[in-house]
């Protein structure tokens, strides 16, 4: 079962990195600005998942705190970007 978990962690790393690559392609190609914001938000989420999987891999709690910070910063930055898309300015 331990070998199974090692294989699963490797598969999860490959899948999350491939998902980040696809999000980057959409970020570069996205025809409109809100497409790019959506791709950036998904990229934040994938970065958080990558940190969680690395936490399982190395058995450390530090990665959990990094994942929590990434989640918080992703939410705040996406909200700021959508405010910018709506109004053209962030702080009114």
């Amino acid at each position: 079962m331990a070998t199974l978990l090692e294989l699963a962690v490797g598969y999860a790393l490959v899948c999350v990195l491939a998902a980040m690559l696809l999000c980057t392609l959409r970020l570069l190609a996205g025809p409109s600005a809100h497409d790019r914001v959506l791709a950036l938000d998904t990229l934040w989420m994938c970065g958080m998942l990558l940190s969680l999987v690395l936490g399982i891999r190395y058995g450390s709690q530090v990665y959990f705190e990094a994942a929590m910070l990434i989640a918080l910063l992703g939410f705040v930055s996406t909200v700021a970007l959508t405010k910018f898309l709506m109004r053209g300015e962030i702080i009114e």
Binding site: A2, L5, A12, C15, M45, L52, I56
Partner: protein, 130 residues
């Protein structure tokens, strides 16, 4: 390759490691499917559904796997991944709604009526010249 002995997982029950491996594989596959949907779907209003399963099911499965692994490794309940889960379940609809409202506003403003923004005539387009 033998890294599981490092953090006490060699004494963990085997079924817990199997459950964690299954959850990891399911979550990672769902994350990949969501990103594939983000890349492959045609309009923005279809594309926003791809990351939704990434955030809910994929993140939920990987967070559960992390909880199971650390609970098995430390022989005590480790549930602080619930903080991330609760935070994401609160913020994901907010982000979706803000992004969708910004997209509808911008598409109607720019009169990109072929992008699916009018939803078959449910949302009227503003008059031209505004």
């Amino acid at each position: 390759m033998n890294w599981l002995g490092m953090h006490g997982l060699d004494q963990a029950p085997p079924w817990a490691l199997g459950v964690a491996a299954l959850l990891l594989v399911i979550g990672a596959s769902i994350v990949l499917i969501g990103a594939l949907g983000l890349l492959r779907l045609h309009t923005f209003y279809q594309r926003i559904h791809g990351p939704a399963i990434t955030i809910t099911l994929g993140t939920g499965s990987i967070l559960l796997a992390s909880m199971v692994v650390f609970t098995a490794a430390q022989s005590r309940p480790v549930v602080h991944e619930l903080i991330i889960a609760v935070f994401l379940l609160m913020t994901a609809p907010v982000v979706s709604m803000l992004l969708m409202r910004a997209a509808v506003y911008r598409d109607l403003r720019a009169r990109r009526l072929d992008a699916g923004v009018t939803a078959g005539g449910v949302y009227p387009a503003p008059p031209a010249g505004e």
